[in-house]
């Protein structure tokens, strides 16, 4: 157990350290003090609403990362989370604004609608993949772009948009549909749907490790041929996992819309989808790992404002995020090779045929 824990923690820790060193070098090269920058970012957490913002963003990133992780479990790269959450949020806001229902039911309807809309946006790539063999990466990239067009069209004032102040948005959701948060006074409000992310992570963990569906999903990812021989319907698994991934992606916008904005507005946040992919890689598709990855991501995102005070462009945080993703995948590969070599050595010693480990000899 300890070796397993060590090997699964080694890579992300190495990667974060490496990315930090990389950023420190970039900072020194541009004439800033890395320690001072880090200190400013950590100090920022105590300021104003930043701590609460970090908690809220962590939940949103977790949802996006869970959506990505379901695809990763079976080697499907759902790049389309970006578009799926946008469509999910938009459709849910339109439906939610048009309905009048008792409180809890109203939330549930909106959340279900968001999930269905997200799944619907993933349907075309899923169908194209199983019937026409179109790779999901390409089709979902195209669907992402089209989602932006769809959103711009549906929020037009002759469609569903209305003018509120200076901002165009959908009709506001009635109070019965607003999910109350935990009010911390001047520190801000924690979204009520933060718990949705926690529940989603727990369900994801149980389904992946304790159910037949999770087993079939992971088996299809690890070895499609073995899974097919074991009676797993590959096409069905592709469609189901893409749709489930899309459904969870549809939920990504919910904490903000039901907890703060109460409508889909023109400045609805973008970029959660790609962040989710990075976090899922960082957390190695494990719910706890994803939670920590999301926390790190949210910290970088929300505390970067402090960098301006010490004269560092805040975009260094974006570089840090990109560097983390790239170094974490490289670190996983290195750790995997090291483990493979160690395994081969152990087997060699145990059987007495000291085979020269192939992975270690050549790199």
């Amino acid at each position: 157990m300890t070796t397993r824990l060590r090997s699964s923690l080694l890579a992300p820790v190495l990667a974060v350290l490496f990315a930090a060193v990389l950023c420190a070098i970039a900072l020194i090269a541009s004439g800033a003090n890395p320690a001072e920058a880090l200190g400013a970012m950590i100090g920022q957490v105590g300021e104003g609403q930043v701590a609460v913002d970090i908690v809220n963003s962590t939940a949103i990133y977790m949802l996006a990362a869970l959506a990505a992780a379901i695809g990763f479990q079976m080697n499907l790269l759902n790049i389309g989370i970006e578009g799926q959450y946008r469509v999910g949020a938009l459709v849910a806001a339109i439906v939610g604004g048009a309905l009048v229902l008792p409180p809890v039911l109203h939330w549930l309807v909106i959340i279900v609608v968001a999930a269905i809309a997200g799944a619907a946006w993933a349907t075309l790539p899923a169908i194209l993949k199983v019937t026409r063999g179109v790779h999901e990466v390409l089709s979902t990239i195209m669907m992402n772009a089209i989602a932006f067009g769809l959103a711009a069209f549906l929020i037009r004032r002759d469609q569903f948009g209305i003018l509120l102040g200076n901002n165009v948005s959908t009709a506001p959701i009635a109070e019965s549909g607003q999910v109350p948060g935990i009010d911390l006074g001047s520190k801000g409000t924690i979204f009520g749907l933060v718990f949705l992310a926690v529940v989603a992570a727990a369900v994801y963990g149980v389904v992946m490790n304790r159910t037949r569906f999770g087993f079939e999903l992971k088996a299809s990812g690890l070895s499609p041929t073995a899974a097919a021989a074991g009676g797993v319907n590959a096409k069905k698994m592709i469609v189901v996992s893409l749709l489930v991934s899309g459904a969870i992606a549809g939920l990504v916008g919910m904490p903000e819309i039901l907890g703060r904005d109460h409508a889909y507005t023109l400045n609805f946040a973008s970029g959660y989808g790609f962040a989710g992919i990075g976090i899922a890689l960082l957390g190695r598709n494990h719910p706890v790992g994803i939670a920590f990855g999301a926390l790190l991501w949210a910290f970088l995102e929300k505390a970067k404002g402090a960098l301006d005070n010490v004269g560092v462009p805040r975009e260094i945080a974006t570089i840090m995020q990109g560097a983390i993703v790239l170094s974490v995948v490289v670190a996983y590969e290195i750790v995997k090779r090291m483990e493979l070599a160690a395994e081969q050595r152990r087997v060699g010693q145990a059987t007495g045929t000291a085979v020269e480990p192939e992975g270690a000899a050549k790199s």
Binding site: A26, S30, N75, L77, I79, L124, L128, K129, V130, R132, G133, V134, H135, V137, L138, S139, I141, M142, M143, A145, I146, F148, G149, L150, A152, F153, R156, P224, T225, A234, K235, I238, F274, I277, G278, L281, P313, R314, E315, I316, T318, I319, M320, Q321, G322, A323, V325, L326, V329, V330, E333, I334, E358, K362, S363
Partner: protein, 426 residues
């Protein structure tokens, strides 16, 4: 894993490679016929719908300006994927290229310096992708996504650091020096007269040609040369044969003594450099010619789509980039009504497809095409203009349609995206 897979249900070991189809015509003839067909369809549509902007010279000029970055990215895609490396990081490399090009301009190196710096910065992104994927065996798409994040971040950071003091705006660079353009003197005027006469077909052809010969930027010449260079290097040199063999069957290539890692490195770095030149073309082609944040607007992905549209070949990629550039350029030079008339062109294309499929006795396909033609025709009649919000996404929709219709006729390199490690073949 390739970008367009064979049916997932077919076990990989059992698929027999079909013998290559005998080409009745040489490639250049097919290309020329294609151009004639496209011009014919556009001229007919322009005549029947009364939309001269479809074939005006300004549309053609916008097509060239907007198509060049896509074309260069597509060429970058060919280099990487022909060596078996999926490069979804083209977008990030292109962003790096736009920043590099603007920086060269700010340093006062002139437009040629911009192209060079664009290439260098793009190549740096490519080198990073190569280290991650070739040396460390990281999943190509994952690495590409990371490079897109990283490229955007680095460009933003550097632009805040270096451009913000000069332009008072962290998102933009100051305007840089562009290429001097030149026109073919007598020819352009004569074509202009023809275009103004508004005679069917003649004026259309004149308009399109005039767009090609007036205010030509050296960038266009560079891009066309790079198309030919890519074709010549990859298909007519020993190096190119080896590079492509790494994309088809790296283990076989290795057994013949080809240094697969080296070829993959060269290919991915060249791919980044081409995407970077694409970024430079974007900066130099925009007016005023500045770097601005979010300028690439997913053109890297569209370049990849153009490459797939072109079946992983330079000529086809040129056609794809032309198509996507046209869809984009038309939007700039005219209004929603003109783009609406493109629906009419789609009906004509679908109609031609019906005739072709009937000729080949493919009854179901013909029926499907006929249903599609009628549906688009109804849409054309029921609406006056397309919602302008969707116009920027015309290339994306075309890509989806092309992928849905032709995915099984496209042939990506056999080992595209397959991880390779030396000495691990069986």
């Amino acid at each position: 894993m390739s970008m367009v897979e064979v049916q997932p249900s077919t076990p990989a070991g059992m698929t027999m490679t079909p013998p290559p189809r005998k080409r009745v015509l040489p490639g250049w003839a097919i290309f020329a016929l294609g151009i004639v067909a496209v011009v014919g369809v556009l001229a007919t549509t322009s005549y029947l719908t009364g939309e001269p902007a479809l074939t005006s010279s300004s549309t053609m000029q916008n097509t060239v300006t907007l198509g060049l970055p896509i074309l260069l990215c597509g060429l970058g895609g060919i280099w990487a994927e022909r060596s078996g490396m999926i490069n979804i990081g083209l977008e990030g490399m292109m962003i790096l290229g736009t920043w590099g090009a603007a920086w060269a301009g700010v340093l006062g190196l002139g437009p040629w310096g911009s192209v060079l710096f664009g290439a260098i910065f793009g190549a740096l992104g490519g080198a990073l992708h190569a280290i991650a994927t070739v040396s460390f065996g990281v999943n190509h798409i994952v690495s590409g996504v990371a490079i897109n994040l990283l490229g955007a971040g680095v460009a933003k950071y550097l632009s805040t650091l270096i451009f913000a003091p000069l332009s008072d705006n962290p998102r933009d660079s100051p305007p840089i020096e562009r290429f001097d353009t030149f026109s073919a003197p007598g020819l352009a005027d004569w074509l202009g007269e023809l275009e103004r006469e508004q005679r069917a077909v003649v004026s259309d052809v004149a308009g399109l040609l005039r767009g090609l010969v007036t205010r030509v930027s050296p960038m266009l010449i560079i891009a066309i040369l790079l198309v030919f260079a890519t074709y010549w290097v990859l298909w007519h040199t020993r190096f190119g044969l080896r590079l492509r063999s790494c994309g088809e069957n790296p283990i076989a290539a290795e057994s013949l003594g080809v240094n697969v890692y080296w070829h993959k490195y060269v290919a991915v770095i060249a791919s980044g450099a081409l995407a970077g030149i694409g970024g430079a073309a974007l900066v130099l082609g925009s007016s005023p010619s500045i770097y601005s944040e979010g300028q690439t607007a997913n053109r890297g992905f569209i370049g990849l789509a153009a490459m797939i549209f072109g079946n992983w070949r330079p000529g086809g990629t040129l056609a794809g980039a032309g198509l996507f550039g046209y869809a984009d350029g038309l939007r700039l030079s005219s209004g929603p009504e003109t783009v609406h008339s493109l629906l009419y062109a789609a009906v004509i294309v679908a109609g031609l497809l019906v005739i072709w499929q009937l000729f080949r006795r493919k009854w179901t396909t013909a029926l499907l095409a006929a249903v599609g033609a009628v549906a688009v025709y109804v849409l054309y009649f029921a609406t006056d203009e397309l919602p302008s919000e969707f116009l920027p996404y015309t290339p994306h929709i075309i890509t989806l349609v092309v992928l849905a219709l032709a995915a099984q006729r496209l042939r990506p390199p056999a080992a595209d995206g397959v991880p390779y490690r030396r000495g691990e073949g069986d």
